[in-house]
């Protein structure tokens, strides 16, 4: 049985761990609020962008000169996966979930005989996928140490993707990230970026609108600048959702850790008291039997 001193040491160490996890939970809660506000602030732009894109896309998609970013290049051989994760761990299964989805996807695609290329945003995803798929990496981006991610950062990633598209480095591009459903639920999601999915439901209504709208300059020119922008906004949204999800996941994880630490302290304290009592009893018996022997 562990000595009293050992038990005391363990109780103290679990107590300080609990302090840390509790503090991390508080910090995550504060950051979550900020991240959520940022994600919500970005929503109106993305929504309006989608509306414009839907009306424009319906007009241009059928024409033979439609840009590659909208309709793809017809092939389906090389896939680029953009995987968004956090830069830090200690957030429960947050990073692993995305990593696992990406891993399954890569395996499935390669089993079909397709080539996969990887671009990761966030350090954790990079280190998770590097173990198995190091040869597929083409780039990794990290915003570690940054207080908040600006739109310009997401745009830089989008520019990288656009350049790769122009070089013909891939045919299809998808985004894998944690969608923020609520504080305790994040859903690992795959979203196609190129060719851009055009909302089907909007199509009949936009036919009427498209005929109505004037474009200045031409539809093609507007689309040529609108599409990279849309790519950037999709990536930005994924990064923001992932950031909010990360804080939510960390909060839940740290809450659990704090609770577990509390339980452990209770168990250890009980054990400590029992041992102490046993020691006293043993000493008493020794004294009494010593006195009787005299």
């Amino acid at each position: 049985m562990a000595s009293l001193k050992d038990l005391r040491g363990r109780i103290n160490s679990v107590k300080s761990t609990r302090k840390i996890t509790q503090a991390m939970k508080m910090v995550a809660a504060a950051k979550l609020r900020r991240a959520q506000a940022q994600a919500e602030a970005a929503r109106p732009y993305a929504e309006r962008m989608e509306a414009i894109l839907a009306s424009l896309g319906a007009v241009v998609a059928s024409s033979p000169t439609a840009p590659r970013m909208l309709v793809g290049n017809g092939a389906d051989r090389v896939h680029l996966l953009v995987v968004v994760t956090a830069d830090r761990g200690l957030a429960g299964p947050f990073n692993t979930n995305v990593g696992r989805l990406a891993r399954n996807r890569i395996r499935a695609l390669e089993a079909e005989g397709k080539q996969v290329k990887l671009l990761t945003v966030g350090r954790k995803g990079a280190s998770f996928l590097k173990r198995e798929f190091a040869s597929r990496f083409i780039a990794e981006v990290s915003f570690a140490g940054r207080k908040r991610v600006e739109f310009a950062d997401a745009e830089a990633v989008a520019v990288q993707v656009t350049e790769l598209l122009e070089e013909g480095a891939f045919d299809v591009c998808s985004l894998i990230y944690n969608r923020f459903r609520n504080v305790i639920t994040q859903i690992p999601t795959e979203q196609r970026l190129i060719p851009a999915p055009i909302p089907e439901a909007a199509a009949p209504a936009t036919d009427r609108l498209a005929a109505l709208y004037d474009y200045e300059p031409t539809e093609e020119e507007i689309l040529a600048t609108l599409l990279p922008r849309n790519l950037a906004i999709q990536i930005y949204r994924a990064i923001l959702e992932s950031a909010a999800g990360e804080q939510g996941a960390r909060m839940t994880a740290m809450d659990n850790a704090t609770r577990n630490a509390g339980e452990m302290i209770n168990k250890l304290t009980l054990n400590y008291n029992r041992t102490r009592q046993a020691n006293i009893t043993r000493e008493l018996i020794e004294i009494i039997s010593g006195a009787e022997a005299v």
Partner: protein
Amino acid sequence: MATFQFELVSPEKLLLSRQVEMATIPAAEGEMGVLPGHAPMIVALRGGIIRVRENGAETETLFVGGGFAEVSPERVTVLADEATPLASLSRAASERRLAEAEAALREVQTSDPEAKRDAALARVLAMRTAVEAAQAA
């Protein structure tokens, strides 16, 4: 006077959303004043100043660094790449960004795609507008 719904959004937030009488937006092919009942249009924007009129007076002036606007008879939605109210536009910051944009333009090769060259030039012009606006403010 008749009004229409004017919305200005940047990727980072919704800056304005209210009923206004008139808005002047820097369309790619020239400044464009929009009154209620304007014909539906989708226009590209260059870097410039957006002016909003309410109750017969100019109430808001903002710098935008390019983007798009969707105009319909009862609403105007501006999707700006970036938008800053003139009052909070810092002159030093704009000058620094102008210098950066000019440096980027010098880097551009004639062999680069035309779209890229245009984008670099557009950026310099937008930043120049920002510096001028910051000086005037």
